[in-house]
């Protein structure tokens, strides 16, 4: 009986310790294990060309939702450039709600890690994917099925711990 308060307390601390490594804001995407929602959007800089997830059939690829006005996206831009240079995986950059159309100039200035930059001007595709905040990144497999969703910045640590194991499992 006299040890009971301590035991309860330690159990609570155990949960908190676990909780420190979890993110309560990260909501799992209901699309994981399902086909990525289809869309066809014009490309930034070339309104006549368009992009659709179906174009990537047969490849494991990444859909990175970003915006020129998003500061965190600029932080992760450097890592995406490195990733693009290694050529491990093609990255498609969904340009989300870029009302001022700054993406083309920005990419020209800072470098373009993307194989394609479809333009989601009114954010409708973002709604289909359940984007709550940029940046968000989806890993999509050869059959067009969403395998992973990450909310927030991708840095080398996140890439190693979250994306690499999945990539291995997918054999890419």
């Amino acid at each position: 009986m006299k040890w009971l308060p301590l035991v309860l307390f330690l159990a609570l601390v155990g949960f908190f310790a676990k909780g420190l490594f979890l993110d309560p804001r990260e909501v799992p995407s209901p699309f994981i294990g399902r086909t990525a929602p289809a869309f066809t959007l014009p490309l930034v800089g070339d309104a006549n060309a368009s992009f659709s997830p179906a174009d990537m059939k047969g490849k494991v690829w990444i859909l990175n939702v970003w915006a020129p006005w998003c500061v965190t996206c600029r932080q992760e831009h450097g890592f995406l450039m490195q990733l693009a240079q290694t050529g491990v995986i093609p990255i498609v950059g969904l340009n989300w709600k870029d009302k001022e159309r700054k993406a083309e100039a920005l990419l020209a200035r800072t470098g373009n890690p993307y194989v394609a930059v479809p333009e989601d001007l009114d954010g409708r595709v973002g709604i289909d994917y359940g984007v709550t905040a940029v940046p968000e990144t989806y890993l999509i497999d050869k059959q067009g099925i969403v395998r992973l969703k990450h909310t927030g910045l991708i840095d080398p640590g996140v890439w190693k711990s979250k994306f690499e194991p999945k990539l291995k499992a997918l054999g890419a």
């Binding site: 006299k2 308060p5 908190f16 909780g19 420190l20 309560p24």
Partner: protein, 660 residues
């Protein structure tokens, strides 16, 4: 230079806190008076240093020194000077500085008002407070330094979160922290008792006024937070069962339980171990609140920017402080034997029931708050727990405690007579039941929750009346003389209980009879709500110091007679671009008419306007006022001072004895 001087003062304060912790605790263990005597000057010196550091940070804010990172992130040159000042504690780092400032304030207060305590007790209490201060000062210095520079300096700050640019925020955090941290004193007294092994009732008497004052501050802080949310969030709600609100409510529940069990321990020597455990619990809940708000383990509408490193430090500190205390508790608990027996119906048994219920209610809030974390940690998914859970579980749990509030103060210590209380309170029960059953019928049809609320409110209020009648029966003199003759402890308790009755009545009405409408209003159109007619006169542009506002004008009338002109605003803050609604309220004791602006619909000045009719909402704040005044009166009861003088006299006698 100024921020560096402030930083240096904090470092000195940390060294002094270490001294305050180590030397007196060691001295008390070895019976060394010289070492024990370090405690008081160390505590006072620490207060001076931290107050100075706080002044340095406040100066940086007032001077808009954007080379200080904290200032650049949480202030801007456009803000009014008083918001610049309050921005000092608007961030995580700044609020930690306020935390340690208030801890130092309480420690200094203990050092001044502890002259009557035995030296070793005072040394241990201050030593424990010093240990807590070491933990928080080093947390601040190593993970959240408010004086950190930003080089090159920013040209303009990124503004204080507009939600915090409200005068409720000027007083809410200091009050809340006075409460949170004030319980550290109760904790330190309990720890000192455990450390010394002398767990007689003396520590209960000493810590009672401190606990009551801390509780009064916490009550005030929680109420101000609720009042701020009510006015500032623009939803007309006053309690959302948000994790951060719960973090302040849980220590309040436990603190309420502690005040009552301290009374029983002090007067009758019962529940000794339980009271010690409660004192530890209250402060651990204060620490838990700090951890939850700053670690990011729960998502909440108003938590600070979070960082796992900070969370890990706080958790480690929490583990050492509370884990250590509980080990000590387990070691000493078997020594604590209750002093006297009591009958199954007595004030002791009623206070015990009060404690059991309060703790059960507390557990229900704790479970609801942490449930998402438990589920997530066990990998069972993501979920959130909202008001439906809390209302369904908390209300039925707390209702019996409210009923017992009516009986407890009338029951005698040791052995009370049940038939006696039945005869004395029959009429009150009858009146309360009749009110509960009939009053809702006159309002809006029968409603079981409103009935329960009215019944309990009337019951508690009549019990307060009965207690006064009982006390005055035997007193001499005129009525006013008699009333003035009652001890302030009695007054305090009754006022606080009456406050509870007022609060319960207010909640019963506002929760069940409020009405609201979201209406599309063209210029010149009108809408009706709660018997009032609201006519929309359009909006005008208005420039504030750091925002632009669209200010709407609504004329409110009742039966053709004008009641008020309300001017709610929709503000867009210049720097952050954040949109904020500024509600406009016309208040009286029976209701608030509350209007806030939604969105503009077209160029012709058509808006969505939210109209609220909130009957009895002001009774909630009135209730808090009664409880705060009650708490302060109870803490200022003469008998604590008499006890003080007596022990002073005893000490003088003892020193004279040893001198001769």
């Amino acid at each position: 230079m100024i921020p560096e001087i402030g930083n240096f003062a904090v470092i000195l304060a940390l060294l002094l806190a270490l001294t305050q912790a180590v030397l007196p605790l060691y001295g008390a263990q070895r019976g060394n008076l010289t070492l024990m005597a370090v405690a008081r000057p160390a505590a006072q010196g620490q207060f001076v240093l931290i107050a100075f550091a706080f002044g340095c940070l406040a100066y940086s804010f007032l001077a808009s020194d954007f080379s200080v990172q904290n200032v650049a992130k949480n202030s801007s040159s456009q803000m009014a000077w008083f918001y610049k000042f309050t921005a000092t504690w608007g961030s995580h780092e700044g609020s930690m500085l306020m935390w340690v400032l208030i801890l130092a304030f309480w420690s200094a207060a203990v050092s001044v008002f502890s002259r009557h305590l035995p030296e070793d007790m005072a040394a241990r209490v201050l030593g424990v407070l010093g240990l807590i201060s070491v933990g928080f000062l080093s947390f601040m210095l190593f993970t959240s330094n408010p004086f950190e520079r930003l080089l090159p300096a920013a040209l303009e700050g990124s503004d204080l979160n507009p939600l915090l640019q409200d005068w409720g925020m000027i007083i809410h955090p200091p009050m809340l922290y006075m409460g949170y941290v004030g319980f550290a004193v109760a904790y330190a007294f309990a720890m000192a008792a455990l450390l010394s092994g002398k767990m007689d009732v003396a520590w209960a008497r000493w810590s009672r006024p401190w606990t009551t004052v801390a509780w009064a501050f916490l009550t005030c802080g929680v109420a101000l937070g609720s009042w701020w949310a009510y006015r500032e969030l623009g939803w007309g709600g006053w309690w959302f069962w948000d994790p951060v609100e719960n973090a302040s409510f849980m220590p309040w529940l436990a603190g309420t339980a502690l005040m009552h069990s301290l009374a029983a321990t002090e007067k009758r020597g019962v529940f000794k171990a339980w009271t010690v455990l409660l004192a530890l619990t209250v402060f651990s809940l204060s620490l838990l609140g700090t951890f939850l708000v700053r670690s990011g383990v729960l998502s909440s509408v108003h938590s600070f920017a979070t960082d796992p490193g900070r969370g890990a430090y706080l958790l480690g500190f929490f583990l050492v402080v509370i884990g250590g205390s509980l080990v000590l508790y387990a070691w000493r608990a078997p020594k604590m034997i209750s002093g006297s027996s009591f009958g199954w119906y007595s004030r002791e048994s009623l206070l015990l029931a009060n404690n059991v219920i309060l703790i059960a209610a507390l557990a229900s809030v704790l479970l609801g708050t942490l449930y998402p974390l438990f589920i997530d940690a066990m990998g069972l998914g993501k979920l959130s727990v909202g008001p439906p859970y809390f209302n369904a579980v908390f209300v039925p749990l707390i209702a019996p405690a409210l009923f017992l509030m009516g009986v407890g103060p009338l029951a005698r210590w040791k052995e009370a007579s049940l038939p006696d209380i039945v005869t004395r309170m029959k009429w009150a029960l009858g009146v309360a039941l009749a009110t509960g059953l009939l009053l809702p019928l006159t309002l809006n049809g029968f409603n079981v929750w409103a009935s329960l609320g009215f019944f309990l409110a009337v019951w508690i209020a009549l019990a307060v009346l009965a207690a006064f009648i009982d006390r005055l029966k035997h007193a001499q003199g005129g009525l006013l003389q008699k009333l003035a003759g009652l001890p302030s402890g009695f007054w305090g308790m009754q006022l606080a209980h009456l406050g509870m009755a007022i609060g319960v009545a207010g909640i019963a009405v506002v929760a069940n009879y409020s009405s609201e409408r979201d209406v599309r209003m063209e210029v010149g159109s009108y809408a009706k709500l709660g018997g009032y007619t609201f006519t929309f006169r359009g909006t005008t542009e208005h420039d504030g110091p750091n925002y632009r506002a669209a200010r709407g004008t609504l004329e409110v009338s009742q039966d053709g007679k004008p009641v008020a002109t309300l001017q709610p605003e929709k503000r867009v803050y210049n720097i952050s671009g954040m949109a904020m609604t500024e509600a406009s309220v016309h208040a009286n004791i029976f209701r608030d008419i509350y209007v806030s602006m939604g969105d503009q619909l077209d160029d012709k000045g058509t808006w969505i306007v939210r109209l609220y009719h909130k009957p009895f909402i002001n009774w909630l704040w009135l209730a808090a006022l009664f409880m705060v005044v009650g708490g302060i009166m109870a803490a200022s009861d003469k008998r604590y001072r008499i006890a003080l003088r007596r022990s002073d006299a005893a000490k003088n006698l003892a020193t004279q004895g040893s001198a001769s």
